[in-house]
């Protein structure tokens, strides 16, 4: 009887097969049975699924971005025709602000809803997975360690969802409103307040991720010892790629890398693949929108739309904040699963 057979029997005995994996997780694997995949193969299929869906994400992101760019072009053209002091002309940037808000914010608000639901799905799924892993961990003779990790994961996960619901999403909406008002009024009167709100959201997210990672590290739950070069490379990629909270996530990724060598049992593999699949859809949807809007915001001054370009960049920042929330939830769930299977 080999190692994999033992883990497979554990998997069945612990009731892991009864864990409900969300439908969106299966779709990305092209119909393959997620329960029988190895980690490498799973990530390969996930990569293929992402590649096939990427065109669709860009198409969805293009529509609000093109609308915003056209508003900027129109207002820029009008501003070149009339002198700045013309009273009637001062209304045009206000109308342009409203048009961009209508075009972009409808999309943003819809994604806040789906992002919130992705965070909840991650939390619900990871809780049922962690319960099974905790049972498995207790069965192999580490009941104390299993329950400590399970408790830590549940507490921090619940804290994150509560903070996202009650603090971060309202703060995000306030940030959007302040940015829109600032663009409508002009003169950068509310720019300081918008920056403060963004910094506050980023700081809270960073504190939660960092607190969770420190807790696991200090309590000796997760060992270090991963290759320094791998850690450095991964941290550089993450902090440069993920906006807003990339730095904090990069620091937490060291914990994940250190423990991936311990991923060997079937339940853990299924769990990690499912978590990755649940998170990646929302991640890509938001990430592509963030990139596209940032590009439009960057080229807007060339079309004469300085004020409106700044609004577009700020709205891109809102997508970035939402992306940071989902990335934080996914990483916390992943760290919790890896910490559990390292027993």
């Amino acid at each position: 009887m080999n190692e994999q057979t033992i883990y497979r029997e554990q998997y069945v005995a612990s009731g892991a097969e009864s864990i409900e994996i969300p439908a969106e997780a299966y779709d990305l694997f092209g119909g393959a049975d997620i329960n029988s995949l190895e980690l490498d193969e799973g990530f390969r299929l996930l990569g293929q699924g992402i590649g096939q869906g990427l065109g669709g994400y860009f198409k969805q992101a293009a529509l609000p971005a093109v609308s915003a760019l056209m508003v900027v072009l129109l207002c820029g053209m009008a501003e070149t025709m009339f002198p700045e002091r013309e009273r009637t002309m001062k209304v045009l940037p206000l109308v342009g602000t409203l048009a961009i808000t209508a075009a972009v914010c409808g999309d943003l608000f819809a994604l806040v809803g789906s992002g919130r639901s992705a965070v909840e799905t991650l939390s619900t799924f990871s809780k049922s997975l962690l319960a099974t892993l905790a049972a498995t961990g207790a069965a192999v003779g580490a009941p104390g360690g299993a329950s400590a990790r399970y408790l830590a994961a549940i507490v921090f996960s619940d804290a994150l969802i509560t903070v996202i619901d009650r603090v971060l999403i309202p703060a995000l909406m306030a940030y959007v409103l302040v940015c829109v008002a600032d663009a409508a009024i002009g003169g950068d009167t509310l720019g300081g307040l918008a920056k403060f709100l963004k910094t506050a959201v980023v700081t809270v997210l960073t504190l939660i991720i960092t607190g969770f990672t420190i807790y696991l590290t200090v309590s000796g739950i997760v060992a270090g010892g991963a290759d320094a070069l791998t850690i450095k490379a991964t941290k550089t990629v993450i902090s440069n790629t993920v906006p807003v909270v990339g730095g904090a996530i990069a620091d937490a990724s060291e914990t994940v890398i250190a423990s991936t060598r311990l991923v060997k049992n079937t339940t853990g593999v299924v769990g990690i693949l499912a978590l990755a699949a649940i998170a990646v859809g929302s991640f890509l949807r938001l990430g592509v929108r963030y990139l596209v809007l940032k590009t439009v915001g960057a080229v807007s001054p060339l079309a004469g739309g300085g004020r409106l370009g700044k609004l577009i960049e700020n709205l891109a920042g809102a997508f970035g904040i939402l992306l940071g929330m989902i990335a934080a939830s996914a990483l916390m769930a992943l760290i919790a699963v890896v910490a559990m299977i390292s027993l």
Partner: protein, 129 residues
């Protein structure tokens, strides 16, 4: 290029004619300046219309909702009309009337953007609920 040269020439001629008439017939001078303004802006519309059509076709191709732009087009049209009228009045020495026209133009531009404001407000309200 030809149109710009013709517009410039017409503008200069009208300015000279108005200057000559101003001393003896200020009303006539004003009418000449106004007529020149209308003709020149009309000629400028010949440049603006194809640009607006191009933007409209771009919007159709991208699948952009037309209601986001109709308020903007209307506000731009109001700006052009009120600008020509206000500047003409200021030229005729009626700065106050020019100011009233600017005020009316601004109010009209805000009025046509009401549907857009209403859409944005509904969007925010539906999310906050």
């Amino acid at each position: 290029m030809d149109t710009v040269i013709k517009v410039a020439a017409a503008g200069l001629l009208a300015a000279v004619a108005a200057l000559v008439l101003k001393k003896d017939n200020p009303a006539g001078a004003f009418l000449i300046a106004l007529a020149a303004g209308v003709v020149i802006v009309g000629a400028a519309m010949g440049f603006i219309s194809p640009i607006a059509d191009f933007l409209r076709s771009l919007a159709d191709a991208a699948g952009v909702a037309p209601e986001h732009f109709s308020a903007l087009y209307k506000a731009l049209a109001i700006s052009i009309v009120s600008y020509v009228a206000a500047e003409s009045c200021k030229d005729a020495g009626e700065k106050a009337v020019g100011g009233y026209i600017e005020l009316a133009g601004g109010a009209a531009a805000l009025y046509v953007s009401l549907p857009l404001m209403s859409d944005v407000f509904s969007l925010l309200r539906s999310f906050l609920r």
